[in-house]
Symmetry: D2
């Protein structure tokens, strides 16, 4: 499937950002070369298939996504066609087995998110919701019937999903959610969902909404697949949230449910409590940890190009200045460490050895370091950074959001702190 997809994108990848490859520094013999774009040679850890998938994804993203993002971000507009295109390329739910999904490794899946986020964290968010949160959740917890009904068309990007967990008053603490499901008073085999979810990526365009709510009788959290086309008028609203100062190329909204009837056949049969949504989030966080490295790498490449082209003081490229070089070095270092860690935990996941704390650890660190370095690299652009055409301001604004969602950085530090000390310190 990837080969086919790859062939469709026949134009060469834009390489303008990759100019001026420096000569090997102090080597005279033909030894290994240092590659500033992959300083720790993480490519050596990838399989042929993973390299091919990465290449396909990068080509698609640079050729098809990149040209759209500047205007999309300005207009706060999300082009849902992107998900369809990604579906055609087999990039959605790629690490899932069966039901029309590619069944690739977690690393391969992570490389796709990196390619997408190299363009924009908002585009990656849109894809993460579809792939990790919704498709991943259905794959993990859905009945066979549910999987067969939803996954194939979601994999193709023909059916879009969203994930409704966060509520206006309950962000870091989803266990206190207020959304409820109560038995339908008249229609057997149905429940009525009520409640409000907010900061829901893709909610305004979603066909199927995975909503987590407490059973009124038991207080237990259960997951429901709400199909928009089946909701009576007035029972489901998904107003968009506008005027965001980050992730503007993704669409975000609320989910407002008012006695919305949902058949029990659309409830996940077994999973109960927070382990359901937390499993989905773990998968998504894995993707974020990989993805943000793509955004950071793009910042680095752009800052490097700018520093080589921009001349000040006796016509020197500012890349010659120590204070500039240090910023580039720091960023390259953190990017390479972050990619390495993401690969490691992905491999562990595929071997059944990953724990949620590991994912907290790399999600936090990679988001934090991506943000810190992106901000530092932004300084290289001086006053010019304020122009959105240099893209780095967009990455900086996006990366701040990635630091706060799916577990704000401090919360993950306390999750780790609990794992290290055995004592929880949330309250």
């Amino acid at each position: 499937m990837f080969c086919q997809a790859a062939r469709r994108c026949s134009r060469p990848v834009a390489t303008t950002l990759r100019l001026a490859r420096p000569k090997r520094s102090y080597a005279s013999t033909a030894g290994p070369m240092f590659d500033w774009e992959d300083p720790l040679a993480t490519k050596t850890l990838l399989t042929e298939e993973e390299l091919a998938i990465s290449e396909t994804a990068e080509r698609y993203c640079q050729e098809r996504m990149l040209p759209r993002v500047l205007q999309a971000y300005r207009d706060e507009h999300y082009d849902a066609a992107i998900l369809t295109e990604m579906g055609e390329l087999g990039l959605l739910g790629a690490n899932l087995e069966g039901y029309g999904c590619a069944g690739v490794s977690t690393v391969a899946s992570g490389l796709i998110t990196r390619a997408v986020e190299r363009v924009d964290s908002g585009y990656r968010s849109g894809m993460s919701v579809q792939s990790s949160l919704v498709m991943g959740g259905i794959h993990a917890f859905g009945s066979t019937e549910q999987k067969e009904r939803f996954l194939p068309s979601m994999a193709q990007g023909k059916m879009l999903g969203c994930f409704g967990l966060t509520e206006p008053n309950h962000g870091s603490d989803p266990g206190s959610m207020e959304a409820t499901a109560r038995p339908h008073p008249s229609k057997s085999g149905y429940v009525l969902l009520s409640g409000a979810k907010t900061w829901i990526t893709n909610s305004p365009i979603a066909d199927v909404l995975m909503v987590w709510a407490k059973m009124q009788e038991t207080g237990k959290i259960r997951g429901f697949l709400v199909e928009r086309k089946n909701c009576p008028t007035g029972t489901l609203e998904t107003p968009p949230i506008k005027n965001k100062n980050g992730l503007r190329a993704s669409i975000t909204g609320m989910i407002q449910l008012d006695d919305c009837p949902v058949p029990l056949a659309n409830m996940f049969p077994d999973v109960e409590g927070l382990s359901g949504p937390f499993t989905c989030l773990n998968s998504a966080r894995m993707g974020i940890a990989f993805g943000v490295m793509g955004a950071l790498e793009d910042c680095l490449a752009r800052a490097r190009t700018y520093a080589l082209e921009r001349r000040q003081f006796k016509n020197n490229p500012i890349a010659k200045y120590q204070l500039v070089q240090k910023k580039l070095s720091d960023a390259a270092t953190d990017a390479s460490y972050g990619v390495l860690a993401a690969i490691q935990v992905s491999r562990l996941k595929d071997e059944g050895k990953a724990t949620p704390e590991m994912i907290s650890l790399i999600k936090r660190q990679n988001c934090d370091r991506a943000l810190v370095n992106a901000r530092t690299l932004q300084e290289i652009f001086g006053g010019n950074a304020v122009s959105d055409e240099y893209a780095i301001g967009r990455h900086v604004a996006n990366l701040f959001v990635t630091q706060t969602y799916e577990g704000q950085s401090d919360i993950h530090s306390l999750i780790l702190g609990r794992a290290i000390t055995g004592i929880q310190a949330f309250v």
Copy 2:
């Protein structure tokens, strides 16, 4: 003048951000109170007049400016009426003597910029250009005729100015500028100005443009007051620069001069070289050092309010969490240190004891610390920070720009480094 102005703004200052004043911590007797909004009691350093001016400015800004800024920032629109209103209140060029200016202290002038930047750095930028760069420059270097011609209407905000120094290829190194003034081939007493200036706040709306250019014959930099109304068609263009990712409530543009005829009567009579623009910049940087503290203080006040109102985990306000309190403490500390330093250098300036290095020092430090702390405070808002209604994202984006303009932070560190070591390290 200020008293009159004050009376016009009779509505009470919005106090929603100032709720929940905590009780004195561990004092039983009636001693002095700690004020988190002025932790080092810098108010004790102000004169009665300065306090009154500050109050007038704060009231105007909170009542009249604040309600406009959210939409203005969204729309990237600058309301030039603001300068007229400020002129009516006597807030423009306030620290200049004569020519219709208020002649207040540098501290008082700084308190005005702090009040304005508490609302928005873009509004402060618009004012700084008018007050410090243009009016300040005319006051310092203009002939008596020039002062009389321009200053009174500029002080009233009826004539708007802009300051043209930075060029597309020469930011940190203005000495390499390419704009030139050559003798008019036919019209005696005139020069023809050519060249391009960029990132010029207010250029699209300016009536008078202070342009720095090199005399073709001597290579010496001179300053010119270009009056838009007198420029023949095609000799002056001031296209706006759109799609900024910060300072969106201010208007920025280019200045494109193509053999624009300017009478020598509009050239500053004596000042030559970079000491002219640098003097203007010093005055503006003084204002920035004061101003950014206002932005930081607003971030602190908003973050504090949010932390007191937002509840997570067993319904605790997040203000109870150590990681949140540390962010608030750090910000309050840096804000109070920064205000203190700004007052000190302002006083020195009025006594003729300030040096440019001192202003570099406080401009750099206050911008850096305002930015760092604003970003940290932004974390308190978690995912909600992405909504522009919380304002903090706007401050963060703005403060990054203040760090880069009128001397990027690193450049100021090298200016200081040169002053400390006697060795310059720019190249």
Copy 3:
């Protein structure tokens, strides 16, 4: 008294660290000069008397203390003669009124601590204990008889004191102290003190030990002046604590009390609870906030000298490198801000307007910034920093301790956090 003292130190102050004063950077006219040793011209805020006191103290410290400190630190030896010498110069308890004390301003007193800590934080600690904690405590809470009995000889450095509050298990939380005072079973007007205090500067050499203990009957904390000469054998031990990795030029020990009889005449008559020791600590913290700036300034001066003398790569002084200059600039900035804040709070204190939170604020910030910058400056010395003759390693080790004592940095951030939010977050 100061003039006399000054005359005794007639040798010129060693000026080796003050070489290579750079020329004024870009000024052609004779304007004010930038002084890298006082970047914000804080000297302009001092009175003639304060300047004279500062000069006396600096001269004494550079001439008499500095030559001793290297060996003292190596040997972990405290020369108690230093306190006698300081007493002769009138430098002990200098800001107290009457009883043989100089009665100078809090600023003057702070300038003394700055001069001492420019040499070594351990020497300053020894002085702070004598001046602020013990003499200050007696002055504030002692009966007239107590003041007359202790203060004059303490001011002369003939009687040494120490301050016993911290216990082995109660550092940040002194309210949980376990030391007790119970009525003497047989001797009227006496109590028996029992308990252990630790990390007590000067305890092994103290003649009078101010010990805080809980009255057995009431549980209320009271303060006692334990005179070593009157303690029966076996009731008071003050073993030194050796092998410290910082403050090695000061002497630290424990206080072990075992039914030590103390007359009630040696108990502070009125003060009860933690307000007593906290008042003493506030005064000492004020001194620390001033003092650590001296240590930082010494680090800066030494790093600057080293950077000007050390040559690498084509024989350039390393002071020419941007990465070095930035470290110097950062340190100079923080030092000047810190001094300014210390002066401000000192003035407020003398006017009765200072609050404990203000002192927490500047104690924390100045200690933190002194430490951070000292560490960064240490990098300039490269591998040579490991030699103790460059002194900077000693300052770094000392400054870490100042960050932890008299309120560890995080604790002060929570004290501030409580003052800002009204919510305490210690537990």
Copy 4:
């Protein structure tokens, strides 16, 4: 050889620091466990042999080295028996092939350095010099005769070596070295070495001194193996450098050569210029990158134990405080990332794919992060940190030195900057 060695250390490893292993946080089923001592499960990347070697080394270090280090550090004394013991265990030059060396992987070799530096960076330095710099250099550049003559007894720790590159005036820039080798005026096949080397670990106790000097005739740098026993009196002095403030458990000295005759048979036959010493340094830096993670891990373990045992405020262990947990989380994160990167580059090295820039990158980052986190963890100990029995102060002091030697951190950032931009910025 390792199995034998392992059997000799039959006592159980001290486990006092590993108490209080927390239960798995939010897992109900028996899944993989999070191990705070190896958060990213890097053990899964090791071979059986590597795990066994690591275990042997850790056991030896904890059982035999750890009990010695406190006193050694106090006394600034290096026990050369340690190298003999390590030789007996096969831990010296372990990654070299033949000549009595174990021929293990670079990862295994790195695990040994990690085990040693978990005890003390000075002990690791002593071993690095022997193993990487001297044995590694002889193995890489020596003639067969040289290898056979030196390596076997060095591997056994019976012959000690040191590495003489750095000179008093040439640290970061060894190419400017002043040491020279000139033809012996009378003795054919000999040169006379003159010059001074400083900060040479092990120089006072070395039997063989690898000295780099410039050939007087050509100016080319060559390497010499100076055998102390063959040096005429007065031609070689190796005075120790005392009073270091870090790495006090290692011995450091100078090398002073005054027309010291050395046979050309002791010169490396082929290598010329800086590629010789740089190759040695690369190998040593690889070990440092691994080693410092051991020191950081020890700091983390100790800080965690302290935080669990120390109680303040209502008898809560301070491990419950958010500000403490964040410090632990940060350290665990950086330690795990650093180990991962060290393993990756080690594997690349064994595959012939590592470049010097990669080693610069991980040496810099791991040293920097180890230092930063060790300092932060030190704060957890509050005032108690000043006692050397808590060990963390020793690690902090040591780690600062590791940051400065074998390429100061800033220099490595410029090496990376050059590799990224193609422009060198050293001068």
